[in-house]
C-alpha cells in the first residue's frame, strides 16, 4: 500500500495487471455536479467469479478499501446466473479523491457459491450473510450464523426474496393490503355514512 493517489486509469491498470485474464472488461464512469462541476469517479470492473478474492487482495495493495456492501440480483427467471457486485471505495478520507471500485461477477445459480472475504476485511461478514439470505448464495469459509440477520427468524427455507426463479417468494406469501377490505368484527364508524 502506498500513500500516493493514483489516477483512475492507473488503478484499473494495476488491478488488470494483478488479475490478468480474470478481468473481463472495465470502464470508468465520471459524474460532475454543482456549479464547479467537480468530478467524482466510479470504476466498474467485470471479473470472473473465481477471481473475487484475488481482486479484493489486489485492491488492498493499492489502498485500504471501504466496503459499502455486496449487492446482487437475479438476472431473470430464464437466466442461469445471478449477478453480484462488490461495491468498494478507495481514497476515502482524502479530499475530493475518493473512487468507487465495483467488481461485478456472474454466479451460476446451479452452483451459487462465493469465497468469503472476511479474512481480508472482517466487517464483510454482515453483508455476506445478507447475500445468503436474500439470494441463496453459499459463502465458503464464512462461519455460519446462529440466526438470520435480515429476514424474520421464521422465514421459510429455500425461499429467497430477491430471486426471480422457482426459489422466489411464492404468491401465497404476498399480502395485497388493498384486497383485504374492512376487517370484520370492528365496531361501526361513530358517524354514519362514509364507510360501507
Amino acid at each position: 500500500m502506498t500513500d500516493e493517489i493514483l489516477p483512475a486509469a492507473a488503478v484499473v491498470e494495476r488491478l488488470t495487471a494483478a488479475l490478468g485474464n480474470a478481468v473481463i472488461d472495465s470502464r470508468i464512469q465520471i459524474r460532475a455536479e454543482g456549479k464547479e462541476k467537480r468530478e467524482n469517479t466510479n470504476i466498474w470492473i467485470t471479473i470472473q467469479r473465481d477471481a473475487v478474492h484475488a481482486a479484493v487482495e489486489a485492491l488492498m495493495q493499492i489502498w485500504y478499501p471501504h466496503l459499502s456492501c455486496i449487492a446482487g440480483y437475479d438476472k431473470g427467471a430464464d437466466s442461469p446466473d445471478l449477478r453480484v457486485q462488490y461495491i468498494f471505495s478507495i481514497y476515502g478520507g482524502v479530499t475530493a479523491s475518493e473512487y468507487m471500485v465495483i467488481f461485478s461477477l456472474n454466479v451460476p445459480k446451479a452452483n451459487a457459491r462465493l469465497p468469503t472475504i472476511t479474512d481480508l476485511l472482517e466487517g464483510a461478514a454482515f453483508t455476506e450473510h445478507e447475500k445468503t439470505e436474500y439470494l441463496g448464495i453459499t459463502i465458503d469459509g464464512l462461519a455460519p450464523a446462529a440466526h438470520k440477520f435480515f429476514l424474520p427468524q421464521d422465514f421459510p427455507d429455500n425461499v429467497y426474496p430477491l430471486r426471480k426463479d422457482d426459489k422466489k417468494i411464492p404468491d401465497a406469501m404476498i399480502k395485497d393490503l388493498w384486497a383485504c377490505g374492512r376487517p370484520a368484527g370492528r365496531p361501526p364508524a361513530p358517524l354514519g355514512g362514509g364507510e360501507e
Binding site: 464512469q29 467524482n40 471501504h66
Partner: protein, 408 residues
C-alpha cells in the same frame, strides 16, 4: 433464577418509542457484558422487492418512506443513481436545494439523536430541550417541502419545489436561532461532569476496527477515520463548498473513539450544517430546478435507459448507497439499498463488550442506530430456562440510577 453466570440478556425486539425494532442478546457476568449478539431484520418490509415492479418515479416516493428520519437521504441517493444511468443532467439550482434540505435533515436528525442520548442518560430536561429546538428545523423543512417527514421533494432530475425569496426569512430565522443556541447546547452536552464521566471511555471503537468494519458517518469519524462523502466524493453542490470533515479534535480533544467523541462530532456537525445552508442560500444560481417537468417525459427517458450505477449521499448517520441496474424497461432489474446504519450496526458486539449493564442504552444509541432497541429485557438463565422479564423502563431506570449515584 439460577445463580450460575454467565446470564443471557435479550434486549428487544420492540420498543414503540424508537424508530425500528432490533433484538440484542447480551451475555453478562454480574454487571459486565462479556459478549453481545444482535438480530436486526425484525420488520423486513420487502421494499427492494416492491421496487422491482415499479417505475423509477414511483420508487422515488417509495424511497422517501424507507426511513422516517432520513426523508431525503434515500431519495437523493436513488435519484442520483438513476440520473447517471439515464444520463440526466440536474440543474445547478436543484443541486443547491438538495444540499439545503439534506443539511436541514442533518440538523434535525442530530438534535433528535442528542435528545435520545440525553434521555438514555437520564437527563430528561436536556431531552425536552433538544426536541423542542428540533422543532425549528422541522418548521423550516415544512416551509421548504410542505411536509415535516416524508418530504417528497426529490424527483429524478432535480427537486419538485424551489426555494423562493419569500421562504428565506423563515429559514434565516431558524438558522439565527440555532447559532444563538449552539454555545449553550454545546456546553450542556460537552461540559457536563456526568455526561463526561459516563461517556468518556465507554463504547470504545478503535480506528483499526472502524476501518475493518467499514463504518461510516459520525461513528467512523469519532474513531479517527476522516471519511466524509461531502468532502471526499463531490456531488450535488457539496463540490462547490470548502468543507472539512468534523473530527473529535473539533473540541480540542484527542480521538478516543468513545461515546463522548460521537457526541462531539454530531454537535459540531450541527454548526457545520448551519454554515453550509447559509453559504448555499447566498450562492444559489438562478434557473430551473427540474431537468424535465413532465413526469411522462422523465419516465420515457428512464424507460430508454440501460446500465448500472451507484448513487451515494452522506446521510446524518453516514454513507447511504443505492445500487440500481436498468435494462430498457419500466422497472429497474435491480435495486439495492445500503442504509448508513447497515455499516454501523455490526460494531455493536465490539463496543458493548466489557460495558456495564447500565451503560447499554447509551452505547447502543451512540452509533445512532436507525433501529429501536430496548423494549423488553428478559434475563434468562441458560441452564434453568427460567426467564425474568425486565421492561425497557427498568433498564433505563438502572441507567438513571447510575447517573444519580454519580451526581451525589
Amino acid at each position: 433464577m439460577a445463580k450460575k453466570a454467565p446470564y443471557i440478556v435479550p434486549v428487544g425486539p420492540i420498543h414503540p418509542a424508537l424508530k425500528e425494532p432490533v433484538h440484542i442478546e447480551l451475555t453478562v457476568v454480574g454487571e459486565e457484558v462479556i459478549s453481545a449478539d444482535f438480530t436486526p431484520g425484525q420488520t423486513h418490509r420487502g421494499i427492494e422487492w416492491m421496487g422491482l415492479s415499479r417505475n423509477p418515479v414511483q420508487i422515488v416516493h417509495l424511497t422517501d418512506r424507507i426511513c422516517g428520519i432520513c426523508g431525503v437521504t434515500h431519495s437523493l441517493a436513488f435519484a442520483r443513481a438513476v440520473e447517471q444511468i439515464a444520463d440526466i443532467t440536474v440543474p445547478e439550482r436543484a443541486d443547491y436545494v438538495r444540499v439545503i434540505i439534506a443539511e436541514f435533515e442533518r440538523i434535525q436528525s442530530h438534535l433528535l439523536w442528542a435528545g435520545v442520548a440525553a434521555h438514555e442518560l437520564g437527563f430528561d430536561t436536556l431531552f425536552y430541550l433538544a426536541w423542542r429546538v428540533r422543532e425549528e428545523a422541522m418548521d423550516a423543512i415544512e416551509c421548504i417541502t410542505g411536509n415535516r417527514v416524508n418530504y417528497d421533494i426529490i424527483q429524478i432530475g432535480g427537486v419538485r419545489r424551489d426555494i423562493t425569496e419569500v421562504q428565506h426569512a423563515q429559514i434565516r430565522k431558524c438558522l439565527d436561532s440555532y447559532k444563538e443556541l449552539f454555545g449553550k447546547l454545546k456546553n450542556m452536552f460537552l461540559e457536563d461532569a456526568v455526561i463526561n464521566s459516563r461517556c468518556k471511555g465507554t463504547g470504545l471503537l478503535s480506528f483499526e476496527k472502524a476501518m475493518a468494519y467499514s463504518t461510516v458517518g459520525p461513528t467512523a469519524r469519532a474513531s479517527g477515520c476522516t471519511a466524509d462523502l461531502r468532502v471526499d466524493y463531490p456531488y450535488a453542490a457539496y463540490g462547490d463548498l470548502a468543507l472539512k470533515p468534523i473530527m473529535p479534535t473539533a473540541y480540542g480533544t484527542e480521538v478516543n473513539g468513545d461515546t463522548y467523541d460521537r457526541i462531539v462530532v454530531r454537535v459540531f456537525e450541527i454548526a457545520q450544517s448551519i454554515e453550509i445552508i447559509e453559504e448555499c442560500l447566498a450562492n444559489m444560481p438562478a434557473g430551473p430546478v427540474l431537468w424535465e417537468e413532465k413526469v411522462a417525459k422523465i419516465l420515457a427517458a428512464c424507460k430508454k435507459a440501460e446500465g448500472e450505477a451507484v448513487g451515494r449521499h452522506e446521510a446524518p448517520r453516514g454513507e447511504c448507497l443505492h445500487y440500481v441496474a436498468m435494462d430498457k424497461a419500466e422497472a429497474p432489474i435491480a435495486w439495492k439499498v445500503k442504509a448508513s446504519s447497515y455499516s454501523n450496526l455490526h460494531v455493536w458486539p465490539l463496543i458493548l463488550k466489557g460495558a456495564q449493564l447500565a451503560d447499554i442504552p447509551i452505547i447502543v444509541a451512540s452509533v445512532d442506530p436507525c433501529l429501536s432497541c430496548t423494549d423488553r429485557v428478559a434475563i434468562t438463565d441458560a441452564d434453568a430456562h427460567k426467564t425474568k422479564i425486565f421492561t425497557k423502563e427498568e433498564l433505563t431506570r438502572m441507567s438513571y440510577e447510575k447517573t444519580r449515584r454519580m451526581r451525589a
